[in-house]
């Protein structure tokens, strides 16, 4: 399979690079689900993808990626949670269909997950969905048109994609519902 960001430590390395942070953070994993742990000099460290990602954003002083208003911050957190509970938790074809359907509805009238601003939610959802999107057929990409438009937008966002494979989207629709 093409290079994919496996949830966890590799993804955090991509995020560090995107944020322009110097390398030097040390990571471990915990438990069967290989939950990432950020090791710190004092204390037990930080556990969990959402938690560490938000910590890195603050470390890079790019707090706007966590949302600006109380509302935006809650929305960002909601989609980060959706990412770690639904996208990472689901493994069947049925789970994938539900996730794509939900996202497609949500993105119908939005440029980004949190509305009009690019946030950490877009970054982590992109990394989490990459392995699903590379496997979609042309027909499926058209079915989840809003997801496709959003995904294509995010993969071209400066610094996000890095070594991950580019997922191609066809500009003109091949399938129509007209007949």
């Amino acid at each position: 399979m093409a290079a994919a960001a496996r949830p966890g430590v590799e993804e955090l390395a991509l995020l560090e690079k995107l944020l322009g942070l110097p390398r030097g953070n040390k990571y471990g994993v915990q438990g069967e689900r290989k939950i990432p742990v950020l090791q710190t000099n004092n204390g037990p460290g930080l556990t969990g993808l959402m938690t560490i990602a938000a910590h890195l954003v603050k470390q890079a002083k790019k707090d706007q990626l966590l949302g600006s208003t109380a509302e935006e911050k809650a929305v960002v957190q909601q989609w980060l949670e959706y990412r770690v509970t639904q996208v990472d938790g689901g493994s069947s074809k049925e789970d994938t269909t539900t996730i794509l359907k939900n996202l497609n509805i949500h993105l119908e009238d939005k440029v980004y997950l949190a509305g009009n601003t690019f946030t950490l939610a877009d970054i982590l959802m992109y990394y989490g969905l990459h392995h699903i999107m590379v496997d979609l057929t042309v027909q499926e990409k058209e079915k989840y048109l809003n997801v496709s438009r959003w995904f294509n937008h995010i993969q071209h966002y400066p610094g996000v994609r890095q070594h991950l494979s580019n997922v191609t989207f066809i500009k003109n629709r091949l399938y129509t519902n007209a007949h």
């Binding site: 069967e32 969990g48 938690t51 911050k73 929305v75 359907k101 949500h106």
Partner: protein, 216 residues
């Protein structure tokens, strides 16, 4: 803003307790008694927080977080970590334990045993930090969210093993707080857990995340 909750819906407990604890000016709307699981993200879902801007929050933890954010309490690494842990580890296990208890008629003690490691995790954190609350010396969103997941299973601190002393003290403290007590009264009483039972019977049994992960 309008907060839509389902009578007897397990997640209603934490969002109501958070609204109370953060003194959020919400208008409460009792919705469809069938609390929809997150998987079917099509309106109208419950619990849901409808903001004046038109935005609707569907995640119970994000709703709780919003109430605290709105009055200026920013999330910290520690509160984030508790919320993520609650959503990924505690919530699935607590739902499964509650299901076993109410639908399969398992004894309360067995259900508590199923949560063993997770309860230990809370105990160890409280002991190590030596604070009265999960993320420090004052109550935060983390306390409300974790309490909301545990309360339906435990009901009161007497079902906790006596060696979990810090957890017992914290849990009792939370349960006696005005916001939590009021939330429990409005969601669960007087029919108490029968509400949960009828809810749970209408849904497929929850499965624990670790079991699902290996099924691929």
């Amino acid at each position: 803003m309008r907060l839509r909750v389902a009578p007897g819906g397990p997640a209603a407990l934490k969002v109501l307790a958070a609204a109370g604890a953060a003194a959020a000016p919400v208008r409460l709307v009792w919705g469809d008694p069938l609390e929809r699981p997150l998987a079917s993200l099509s309106p109208p879902w419950v619990p849901a927080l409808e903001l004046d801007s038109g935005t609707v929050l569907f995640s119970p933890n994000a709703i709780c977080q919003f109430f605290f954010l709105a009055r200026g309490e920013e999330p910290t690494d520690l509160t984030n970590q508790w919320l993520e842990w609650e959503a990924t580890e505690l919530q699935p296990a607590a739902s499964a334990a509650l299901y076993a208890q109410l639908v399969h008629g398992k004894k309360g003690l067995e259900a508590v045993e199923a949560l063993g490691q997770l309860l230990d995790h809370i105990e160890q954190n409280l002991t190590r930090r030596g604070t009265a609350y999960l993320a420090g010396d004052t109550k935060s969103v983390a306390d409300v969210v974790v309490w909301g997941a545990l309360f339906p299973v435990l009901q009161d601190e007497t079902s906790l093993p006596s060696e979990l002393q810090a957890l017992r003290t914290w849990f009792q403290n939370m349960t006696l707080s005005e916001a939590c007590r009021k939330a429990a009264d409005s969601v669960l009483m007087p029919k108490a857990l029968l509400e949960f039972k009828s809810y749970l019977q209408k849904h497929p049994p929850p499965c624990v995340a670790t079991e699902r992960a290996t099924s691929n």
